[in-house]
Symmetry: C2
Subunit: 610 residues, 2 copies
Amino acid sequence: MSTGPVDALTADGGIVSIRPVTPRDRRAVAGLYARAAPENLRLRFFTWPTAATLATEADRLCRPQSPQFLAMAAYQGAELVGVASCDRRGEEPRGEFAVFVGDRHHGRGIGTLLLEHLAARARRHGITELVGEVLSSNADMMKVARDLGPDGRSRLDHGIVDVTLDTGGAAAREAVDRRDRIAEQASLRAVFAPATVAVVGAGRRPGGAGHEAFRALRDYGFTGRLYAVHPRGAPIGATYAYRTLADLPEPVELLVIAVPADRICGVLRDGAAAGARAAIILTPLGPDPDGRRRAELLRQARSHGVRLVGPGSLGVLSTRPETRLNAGLFPIMPPAGRLAVAVESGAAALAVIDHAARTGCGISQLVSLGDKTDVGGNDLIAYWHDDPATAAVALHLASFGNPARFARTVRELARHKPVLAVRDSRAPAGVDEMFARAGVVRTENLGDLMDAARMLTGQPLPAGHRLAVVGDAGGLVAAAHATTIHVGADASPAAYAATADAVARDGDADLVLLVVTGTRVNPAGKTLAALGPVVDRYPRLPVAAVVLGAEDVPARLGRRGVPIYDLPERAARALAHAAGYAAWLRATPADPPGTDPEPGPRALRGPASP
Amino acid sequence: MSTGPVDALTADGGIVSIRPVTPRDRRAVAGLYARAAPENLRLRFFTWPTAATLATEADRLCRPQSPQFLAMAAYQGAELVGVASCDRRGEEPRGEFAVFVGDRHHGRGIGTLLLEHLAARARRHGITELVGEVLSSNADMMKVARDLGPDGRSRLDHGIVDVTLDTGGAAAREAVDRRDRIAEQASLRAVFAPATVAVVGAGRRPGGAGHEAFRALRDYGFTGRLYAVHPRGAPIGATYAYRTLADLPEPVELLVIAVPADRICGVLRDGAAAGARAAIILTPLGPDPDGRRRAELLRQARSHGVRLVGPGSLGVLSTRPETRLNAGLFPIMPPAGRLAVAVESGAAALAVIDHAARTGCGISQLVSLGDKTDVGGNDLIAYWHDDPATAAVALHLASFGNPARFARTVRELARHKPVLAVRDSRAPAGVDEMFARAGVVRTENLGDLMDAARMLTGQPLPAGHRLAVVGDAGGLVAAAHATTIHVGADASPAAYAATADAVARDGDADLVLLVVTGTRVNPAGKTLAALGPVVDRYPRLPVAAVVLGAEDVPARLGRRGVPIYDLPERAARALAHAAGYAAWLRATPADPPGTDPEPGPRALRGPASP
């Protein structure tokens, strides 16, 4: 594992670069101490240190490192914002830690990040525990200790707390993940729920990417303030276009960038100055054989603390009524709902949107990741973990930077809400198996995924695999564990409803599939009207419906919104996926041991993973 | 194998019952000879036989049978219409045959049927050749010899031809199949292309099956004459309803029966008297635990020479413009096209029709077989074999009377046109394997089947498996043997078309998949307009298209009608099915040895198979 710089998200969504301290950091470390308030220094040194003490400490921190001495620095852009170090005697399995964070950066979780990365290095040198003394009045450090989870122990003695941190425990890992998620949520809030958006490169020509992106945002009814930026300052419809980002009348949170590739870095710089926290880059990066342009773009974004979606993103959607964000080039919009979707290619995004619109599968948010220079699947998984608008997450990703790591974060998400992915025959051997163990609902294709998603958003989870098929036609559904109740081809709607009610009431079925066939003698609409109140009477019973032989079939049945499918096999598969997920959830302990081959703090790597 | 009676179709579509002669047939055989014209008797006996000769011959035919003597009788209803016999000495592998068919039944293929069934029995007794002398002036028997195929040899000597028939040869089998098909075509013409239809049980109440079936036929624009029959003679709309079938002003070819189950047999009798050759029975037969009602229904139908679809059929469709037959209760109609479909359940019929309407998959004919008391999958396979309106056949059958037999007839059909079936996990082990060898395109589900059918009707067959994917978006198609050509997300329609043209022209691809993604910047419609002329320039290259990111996408591209799919995976699967079928066709010899475990004439068994 490299000890080069890694980018990490702070609790407020900022980005810091964390790396081992080197002798060249001597001046920055001295400056960090020089700028610090006396009280901050006292909390670190337990007294008010003299200039000489600080100089000695800076020398100590910046000396060459060894298994007996490790030190990490956190930079934000060019500014050193914190340091952490660890000393041990000989080969003993415990080291003594010390942390110092600059005054203005307290409360951002930088101490926690430093300690996590320090712990990760320490563990690789055989150090299993970090110990340190913290003044009980040092609220920030006490919070760091709490953040690092129940693996940390503490003991109070005369106003000094001995803090002990386990460098490899599962609880520490979980704490890391939780902290990552909180940071991601802060960081990606600017992507999904910005108060202000500027489209940069929004020219006057219809068909131009910026122009169209601006219109898409406006037409879908973005609820925040929307600005157009274009060097020639041309009006777009009735909207004034600002010549530069600097001209905007207020800070802007999200940039939608449609300028030529060679101008993107400049826009990021200007955008950061104008307050931007995130950018969606629609422009493809173009040929970049050695990855240099991509690396430079990431470096720029990091130095300005701006999160990137893209380049080459087709856009980001949020259907939430309080946002209504259509930031991209999608020609049609899916219905609003509770499935969040991450895809790489624009084509996959369009396929998902088409299919969602066709099947009535509601979408909460959708991200076309494009090149994934910064934001990738892991970031979105962390973001959606606690997003109340998202009941299930679909991933359509072609690559995973670190499948084992990815599987662990996915597994954690899957314990909270269903995660769906298309089974990929091109994925490396074992990936599918790993995803299965991570509880990912793996479908054969995108159509199946959307079908399963409709069953896994807004419907209760089945308590078992016992399926009852109730229908007015036989011979169509082949499913394991199924009991078929044939109500008769000429059953009246009331008779059908009575049978369905009896099946739901007697409790012998964990899932119910209603098959309604419409003929000229027995139109489907009447049967559906009779079945709606039945399914509403059993809100905790998972139900799917199939309607054959009818036009203009509604997408859902009853007030509870039982999904209606167009083929029995599709409904049966969706139900099977729901049952499979529920079974995994029942069988999976909250904190399985030994599932993570590489524990440690997650970093925003460049290029991002997955 | 039973030697009980089997029903067989004559060349003109009639039905005869063929079984071994018994002593109780003595009187009927004597009657057959007594009614015969002298010239007919001379052709059989080579002279004008006396009454005593005929009585001796009748005794001979009706004596108890043994491996040294076999005789078969063909009855039409109660009338004996022909006999055939075979004598051999000891255990020798050859027998001498004789055939006699009543005067009025010449030219109907009854002699051929009798000889086929005789040969099948003879083979089971170790007789490999049937030999006989035929007067060269006996045109009918010479035709029988020709009908029995190239396995038969003949030698002319003084006006007498020695005819030798191989009882087990592949060519004989093929001749049997060909003859069966011709008979089926004649027999089922009344089902698919009747000149006159009577709906029996067509009451005045909307929602009644007969009423609705009548309206369906009328509303879809049946091109023949349409009659309503109902005992109370009530008017249906502006149409007069006849009280009985006997009241109809002209003979009627097809009955659509919606009367209660206990009145069906009476309707068949009256219908036969009114000229009916076929009936579609919409009424379910109801509880029939010992199968007696079904057997009686079949017996009645046979005795009246009426073919049955059903009972419990949802109906029969033919979209051919010269017929426009919607004889059933289907609430919606599929587009016209070249896929013929046989299904058992009404629900499957509705699923097919829904899906066809949704995907634009054109249907030539569709049959809901219901209980398959008479007409089954084998009959339809024979019918569609030479049907010029049908380019491919889809089978959605839950059971196969004799899978080996079925596989052979399917295989023969598959050599002429693609046969598609949904893979059935409930089918007996080996069935899927047998279908694979029979060249059946087996799909995972009905949706896949319709997708493949669109590629296999009206599109050329691919010469190999080399797939070129041309698209303005990457990362979506996973297919073996595929080359991907990315035209660039911002390619103009003209640039896309030029690339597609180059790929088609250079001949390195056996199949081409065009992936068109529409965005707000690059609407799909313009790209499709540019691609239409390209695909039309290469009519012999199999092409499929996918359009993502667009509403109101047409079903087909270009004048040649390249199918457009909504997901790349669906198009890729359809192309793979087409390539697989074409490969099977190339690899399959015209007449493989040893594929049929039970050669012999096909019979209309009761209950019908499959």
